[in-house]
């Protein structure tokens, strides 16, 4: 039980705005770790710092004990951190299969001159990528749509495809930004089941942002609560549920200003 991901005193400032202040976070290998907090608490910013879209103003992000903050997002992704986005970011004009292949390509090794003259190694890698990604889509129940345009899929399938695409990177840590956004409670229930399958089948560690309390409380092993860029509570779902600071952040102070 060691920390797979460690966020150490990370501060992220945009001009005068402090989006994340002294954030500390430890994600244990094998856990599903939830981040909750009111809107604007800095959850997505934290994700963007972890995945390298932003370089933190101060502090470090460590993955498997190595400092990764400051590396390029693509390098971090290839190193084993995959993510989904709050507003789905698929390659909408491409086929479902190509969406997954682009992520899978991260581990292909042939060179571009090699590709241009069709070296046997490049051909083999292409064939392998098609087979591997078709298998992956099969697991995610998307294989029938493999040659459809990703943007034409129904919303739920687009969410699933985004997760499938992230898994094609073969990550050891999966970051999910509001996977239940836009889902009703029946769909959310299904999602919990799906996430459980995902965790068991790929034995992937998860860090997820979610507003849906039921999902977080039933699915996560550990929860971090953010408010105004700061960690205000951390612990098991039960500990967090009963923490007065959490209740205050969500419901407002008892003495009634706001």
């Amino acid at each position: 039980m060691s920390a797979l991901l460690e966020v150490r005193d990370v501060t992220m400032r945009f001009g005068g705005l402090v989006a994340v202040a002294d954030l500390n976070l430890e994600v244990t290998q094998g856990h599903a770790h939830g981040i909750i907090g009111p809107n604007g608490a800095g959850k997505t910013t934290a994700f963007n710092v972890i995945t390298g879209i932003y370089t933190p103003t101060a502090g470090d992000v460590l993955f498997r004990g190595e400092i990764i903050s400051g590396r390029r997002p693509s390098a971090i992704a290839r190193g084993g951190i995959a993510r989904t986005f709050q507003n789905i970011r698929l390659f909408r004009d491409l086929t479902v299969l190509d969406n997954v292949r682009i992520a899978h390509d991260a581990h292909a090794r042939y060179s571009w001159p090699g590709a241009m003259v069709q070296l046997p190694s490049a051909r083999r890698a292409e064939q392998e990528s098609i087979e591997h990604c078709t298998d992956l889509l099969e697991k995610f129940g998307l294989v029938d749509a493999a040659y459809e345009r990703a943007g034409d899929l129904p919303y739920g399938s687009q969410r699933r495809l985004e997760i499938a695409r992230a898994m094609a990177l073969q990550p050891s840590l999966l970051l999910l930004d509001e996977p239940a956004a836009g889902m009703n409670s029946a769909e959310t229930l299904k999602l919990v089941e799906f996430l459980g399958w995902l965790r068991d089948h790929f034995s992937v560690t998860m860090l997820l942002i979610e507003h849906h309390m039921q999902l977080v409380m039933t699915f996560c092993d550990r929860i971090t609560v953010l408010d105004f860029g700061k960690t205000i509570a951390e612990g098991s779902p039960d500990e967090v549920r009963n923490d007065p600071k959490v209740i205050e952040a969500y419901l407002g102070q008892e003495d009634g200003h706001e």
Binding site: F91, R92, D93, L94, D105, M116, V117, E126, S129
Partner: protein, 325 residues
């Protein structure tokens, strides 16, 4: 890349057609089967296809906007002319000409690398302005080099661009770019266009993808320039101006972005239109842009935008046939 999911051609058909086409080009050259005008138009068509498909890599597949393609043409044209006239003028065109074309392409590709590096920092309108500046630098630079004739132009280039050489280079270009587009780099290039943030998050080395696109695109732009120089036998810096770039842009957006078939179609339509409209003189340059305006209004992605003739798609990209049941 929406595709027409019809079947690829039976194995060997494409190769047989290619061989027949090349044989026909050879026969035309050997026995003078067509008159000089038709031959000239056919060679122009080949050069235009190379220009169109190579610019399409950057402007179509990658979704950038470069207006500097005529600059790469100029680099390829002038360096190849230096090789074939001044440096290796004594050589047999049979080996000397391909060498000159390669040299032109390589110089253009090397300069394309620089432009690719700039594309890390700048995108969209800003990159368009940089490529415009690049075009002006190339043109003015050549005008100030007396060695290649300065503003008067480069005279006495051998007529080495045969129909056969043009066909060979056109096929080579289409083949290489097809292979690139249907590889991890091609998908990376398209991913940059679709969503650069997501592409990065999915491990696509967007820098490498951009560099590959710019280098390959400018290399073939230089090749086309070399063929162009040895077709006209006389080049001057004024030929490689923004109008030339615009012509290539018209071909790309007419035929369709992100499509090999569209590039051929666009180049063909443009080449034929340019000939048909010849009697109109300068009015030609009113009608061609007008077509572009209408196109942008009614079919902004071009005739074949983001679609492909199934014959240009590698066999492996088609859904596997249902064997079971």
């Amino acid at each position: 890349m929406m595709r027409w999911f019809k079947q690829p051609p039976p194995r060997g058909v494409l190769l047989a057609l290619l061989a027949a086409g090349l044989a026909a080009c050879f026969a035309i050259e050997q026995f003078g089967l067509v008159d000089d005008y038709v031959r000239f138009v056919l060679i122009t068509l080949g050069i235009n296809i190379i220009l169109c498909v190579s610019l399409n890599l950057v402007n179509g597949w990658m979704g950038e906007f470069s207006v500097g393609h005529a600059g790469f043409m100029a680099l390829g044209a002038y360096l190849s002319a230096c090789v074939s006239v001044k440096w290796l003028g004594w050589g047999d065109p049979l080996w000397m000409f391909p060498l000159a074309v390669m040299a032109g392409g390589l110089l253009a590709g090397a300069v394309g690398l620089l432009l690719g590096l700039l594309s890390f920092k700048t995108r969209g309108d800003y990159l368009a302005i940089i490529t415009l500046a690049f075009l002006m630098i190339v043109k003015s630079g050549i005008e100030n080099i007396p060695y290649v004739g300065g503003p008067r132009g480069f005279l006495g280039i051998g007529n080495h661009t045969t129909l056969l050489w043009t066909a060979v280079w056109t096929v080579l270009t289409l083949w290489a770019i097809r292979n690139l587009v249907y590889s991890r780099f091609g998908r990376g290039i398209v991913a940059v266009r679709e969503d650069e943030i997501a592409a990065n998050a999915m491990g696509v080395d967007t820098r490498k993808a951009k560099l590959a696109a710019f280098v390959v695109s400018s290399f073939f732009g230089g090749v086309a320039g070399a063929l162009f120089a040895h077709q006209l036998q006389f080049i001057n810096p004024g030929v490689f101006d923004i109008v030339k770039s615009t012509e290539i842009l018209v071909m790309v957006y007419l035929g369709g972005i992100g499509s090999l078939g569209g590039s051929i179609l666009g180049a063909a339509a443009f080449t034929i239109l340019a000939q048909v409209l010849q009697p109109l003189g300068t009015w030609r340059m009113v009608i061609l842009p007008l077509i572009l305006v209408l196109l942008m209004l009614f079919r902004p992605r071009g005739i074949m935008g983001m679609r492909e003739f199934p014959w240009f798609v590698p066999r492996r990209e088609f859904p596997a046939k249902e064997d079971k049941k």
